[in-house]
């Protein structure tokens, strides 16, 4: 009976043709046209939808493919219980091997990669900030695991609310800035797509308000907005377990209903950018914010480490700053939370009465208490599946095995190396310095008009100025010598610039791919490599299109402003692209502005 119903529901779109022949003649043509369009949209959209299972055929959730080479989105709470290897059924009736790529436990998002095709049907990503309450939408996926033939179920509805905030369950699975819909979201829908009426992807379904009526839709489902996913996508591609962000400040409404800072950590970047207790928050992350929920919504859509614009007002004066977001969890905390649910354990059914907690430091400001227990975990009892009966721990398929590396802090380290190498190769193609132990010689003028020379070698940096040379020898601990004073460590940053170019990935020290992040003054998102050497961390920002290094920032201490080098006005000479301008900043202050007329290498060492 259930199966019959499933087929009926699934094939609802197909029935349109049959019905068209038999409908009364007085159906207005626009109704028939709208229906035909809807059928066509669903018919096309279904091809990108996944039914997600564990390698043994257990578990069960949904997903959606977003690229022709098989990258797909699902929920963290779907991918976590399946473990790194999973099976994904598609509407073509085939079952594909897939591997987990990256995890966002707080945002409840997982990136996976499917194997077996290079022409996967995939969904087009829309701009979910354009979505409004009342827009027609439809969810697709595998609710109640009905799709034994992998034909996804479609449920149609409208957007009930946008920019919704739903409290975390524990400190994970927080739904910020999410879309609320009355399209039915049931157990098994988790990880599946929410499409707009044109069939474009606007969100990842993953949560619903369930209460006394049991775990079935009551017309209140939530989807992670695709714009949030877009922000995290680069980081998910890095193979990491990605963390969310905090500002280091809490906010609340004052008596005049202004959004004001109620506390700020003096170790936070927000504090260093001038934010103080009582300041009125005007805008955050490019949005006007007026309520604590709106503030938390903005906070939730950015990965840890991004710099986002913040505008605040004090005594009538407005301040516009860029603030670095710290992580919500320490690495240990994040991993501990993951290990709480072992990858191959069945997903627990939430205990009755279990209450979601608040994130420390981000207390809710409104009168609302978490009203419900409403995480949508995949149905713990999947139906019979066309997967060979397997033992509890099946061997990893060869293709998955080849694309999976286990490493602490990573969902799948394989993809980190993949992108690290890609970024490095793209940069290296713009100028090969690798293995050439030659001194970099730069000459030009400073913004004031003074001439300068700069020589950057493996062991020493020399800045030549009209009043004399400043010599700096590279110490063992780079953080022990942050000179010139006030620069945050310009000499160390210059030496790390050269070090990555010359020593390369293998000899630099530990180099990993962080994902993508914005860089001040640069459009779009950039690829970021993180290098650790000499006790400091250095982030290298590469332009995605050109492969060129747009900037780097060296942090000697977690709670101090890094030294930033901004590289622009690249020119080619001798087959190498080098910047003709290097702006140095630390905190809010510009430190130096090098106009580079000449960039050469010293003669090769005759030996």
């Amino acid at each position: 009976m259930t199966r019959t119903l499933a087929i009926v529901v699934v094939l609802c779109w197909a029935a349109g043709l049959a019905a068209a022949a038999g409908v009364p003649p007085d159906v207005p043509p626009e109704v028939l046209k709208a229906e035909a369009e809807r059928i066509a949209v669903i018919e096309k959209a279904k091809d990108s939808v996944l039914a997600v299972f564990s390698a043994a055929g257990g578990g069960g959730g949904s997903g959606v493919v977003i690229s022709a080479d098989g990258y797909a989105l699902s929920n963290f709470h779907v991918a976590m219980p399946t473990g790194p290897a999973m099976k994904c059924g598609m509407a073509d009736g085939r079952l594909y091997d897939a591997v987990v790529v990256g995890l966002d436990p707080t945002g409840d998002v997982a990136l996976v990669k499917l194997f077996g095709r290079d022409d996967f049907p995939h969904a087009e990503l829309a701009d979910s900030d354009q979505v409004r309450a009342g827009d027609s939408v439809f969810a697709m996926g595998n609710p109640f695991l009905l799709a034994t033939d992998f034909q996804p179920t479609a449920t149609w509805g409208i957007i009930s609310g946008v920019h919704r905030y739903q409290f975390p369950a524990g400190t994970l699975l927080e739904y910020t800035d999410c879309l609320q819909t009355d399209a039915s979201i049931n157990p098994g829908n988790s990880g599946g797509p929410l499409f707009d009426a044109r069939g474009r992807l606007i969100g990842i379904n993953g949560r619903a308000s369930f209460e006394k009526r049991g775990r079935v839709s009551v017309g209140v489902g939530y989807a992670v907005s695709i714009n949030q996913v877009r922000n995290f996508l680069g980081c998910l591609h890095s193979g990491r377990i990605v963390d969310h962000a905090t500002l280091g400040a809490t906010v609340g409404l004052d008596e005049e209903r202004r959004l004001v800072v109620t506390d700020v950590l003096d170790t936070s970047d927000a504090y260093r950018r001038g934010l103080r207790y009582g300041d009125e928050i005007l805008a955050f992350g490019g949005r006007t914010v007026e309520t604590p929920n709106a503030f938390k919504n903005v906070l939730g859509i950015f990965p840890k480490g991004w710099r986002v614009p913040l505008s605040y007002r004090r005594n009538g004066k407005r301040f516009d700053v860029l603030v670095r977001l710290a992580g919500v969890h320490s690495e240990d905390e994040l991993l501990a939370k993951l290990s709480g649910r072992g990858p191959r354990e069945p997903m627990p059914i939430p205990k009755p009465g279990e209450k979601p907690g608040d994130r420390p430091g981000e207390k809710p400001g409104g009168p609302r208490k978490p009203p419900d227990r409403d995480d949508d975990f995949p149905d713990p009892k999947p139906g019979p599946l066309p997967i060979p009966a397997a033992t509890a721990k099946p061997a990893m398929p060869e293709i998955v095995h080849k694309h999976f590396d286990e490493k602490r802090g990573y969902a799948n380290y394989y993809f980190n190396r993949l992108h690290r190498d890609r970024v490095w190769k793209a940069w290296n193609a713009r100028g090969d310095f690798a293995g050439q132990d030659r001194t970099w010689l730069l000459a030009g003028t400073l913004a004031r008009g003074d001439k300068f020379t700069l020589s950057v070698a493996g062991g020493q940096v020399v800045l030549g100025l009209p009043r004399g040379d400043v010599k700096w020898s590279v110490p063992e601990e780079l953080g022990s010598s942050l000179e010139p004073i006030g620069s945050g460590g310009l000499f160390a940053a210059l030496s790390l610039w050269r070090r990555l170019a010359v020593e390369g990935l293998d000899k630099f020290g530990e180099v990993t791919y962080l994902g993508t992040a914005p860089w001040a003054g640069h459009p779009g998102l950039l690829d970021v490599l993180v290098g650790r050497h000499g006790g400091v961390e250095c982030r290298y920002y590469f332009d995605v299109a050109t492969g060129l290094l747009a900037g780097l920032e060296m942090s000697a201490h977690e709670h101090a402003d890094p030294c930033e080098l901004h590289f622009t006005e690249y020119r080619e000479s001798d087959g190498r692209w080098t910047p003709r301008r290097i702006e140095v900043r630390c905190g809010d202050e510009p430190v130096a502005d090098f106009r580079v007329d000449l960039f050469t290498l010293s003669k090769p060492d005759p030996s």
Binding site: V8, G16, V23, P24, P28, V31, D182
Partner: protein, 364 residues
């Protein structure tokens, strides 16, 4: 196979295919010259988005008593006058001196309970606000099954502060009388309802608005109602026509209001609750609901059929939300007069006419 497919297809086509009047579809209305933004798929969709944005500010969030499992301390309400009259569901949420009403602009105001009609399960609040957007009850149209509607409410308390209330879509599946037999549906309301095909009656949704796709108010969302025989839940809304007269009477102070604060008017020889042979529960908190703890054997209350655990809701046409209010109310009624007590017994509203016992009167 073709039969169920056909049936589903007909259902998908909606009211027209089902042979219902075409106006059910026509009510989306063409947009008046507004160019659709790129993100909207059609002009009609733009109109719907605009309609919702226009109607949402007429729905308010109400906070009050409750807060434990299954008893949410919030519900919804609709503004019905520019002066700040709010129509909402009569429920335990209002059983507090501190009723909070949050407007769509985020303003949090105190709501004063003007009165209620427990039989219709409605109450009218008044907030100190002027120029608020509002629904005109006299203009609420009657609609027929097949009409596509929107439900606006703060279900699950999803929205807080200035966040817009939630909106759901559905179709009026039936216009019928609510079979409010005790033990089947847990509500005293027995009048006409619109039954909806969407899960609109969620926690916190009671008192929300049911509107057409043009934004015209047609009904007030009811409470969560469960059929105890088969554990199914009914989603319904009460047509405005059923409520209009009561609302007017409450606003005029004629029906089920709280007695105005007037020390005068107390009679020399009043009734007392003990005179009826009713023992109330101990009055321990400020607003102890007037539950009957015990009924004295052979007393007028026993003879009339009042039982322990009955909740006294009305004395005459006055609301008595607390033991104290009940005692005070009786102070205004001469012991020689008959008194009508309306009690709530397991979600059923019952009326009893009582006269103090002769022996009791002798003592006065």
């Amino acid at each position: 196979m073709s039969q169920p497919l056909r049936w589903i297809a007909v259902w998908a086509l909606g009211a027209v295919a089902a042979g219902l009047p075409a106006r059910a579809f026509g009510d989306a209305g063409p947009p008046a010259g507004a160019g659709p933004p790129a993100a909207r798929e059609s002009a009609g969709a733009t109109a719907l988005v605009d309609t919702i944005a226009r109607v949402q500010p007429k729905v308010v969030k109400i906070y009050g008593a409750g807060g434990y499992r299954g008893m949410e301390a919030y519900q919804s309400g609709i503004l019905i006058s520019p002066q700040g009259h709010v129509l909402t569901a009569w429920s335990y949420v209002l059983d507090t001196e501190e009723i909070g009403v949050t407007l769509s602009d985020g303003r949090k105001l105190q709501g004063k309970l003007l009165g209620a009609d427990p039989r219709l399960e409605i109450a009218v609040l008044k907030i100190e606000a002027a120029g608020v957007p509002w629904f005109e009850l006299s203009k609420a149209p009657a609609v027929e099954p097949g009409t596509r509607v929107l439900a606006l409410s703060n279900l699950f308390g999803v929205a807080v502060g200035s966040e817009p209330v939630s909106v759901q879509h559905g179709t009026i599946a039936a216009k019928t009388r609510l079979a409010a037999r005790r033990g089947v549906f847990e509500t005293p309301y027995r009048g006409t309802v619109y039954v909806l095909d969407a899960v609109t009656n969620n926690p916190g949704a009671a008192g929300g608005a049911l509107v057409t796709r043009r934004g015209e108010l047609v009904a007030l969302l009811g409470k969560e109602v469960r059929n105890t025989l088969n554990n199914t839940w009914l989603n319904y809304a009460v047509p405005i026509a059923e409520l209009r007269e009561s609302v007017e009477q409450i606003r005029a102070g004629k029906l089920a209001t709280l007695r105005p604060d007037e020390p005068a008017g107390k009679v020399a020889r009043p009734h007392s609750i003990e005179g009826f042979g009713i023992v109330l529960v101990p009055d321990v908190v400020e607003r102890t609901p007037p539950f009957v703890d015990r009924v004295v054997e052979g007393s007028p209350a026993a003879a009339a059929g009042i039982l322990p655990d009955d909740l006294v809701v009305l004395v005459g046409e006055h609301l008595v939300p607390s033991c104290k209010a009940l005692r005070e109310e009786l102070q205004h009624i001469d012991a020689d007069e008959k008194v009508k007590l309306t009690v709530l017994r397991a979600e059923e509203m019952l009326e009893f006419v009582l006269q103090a016992s002769l022996s009791d009167r002798k003592t006065l």
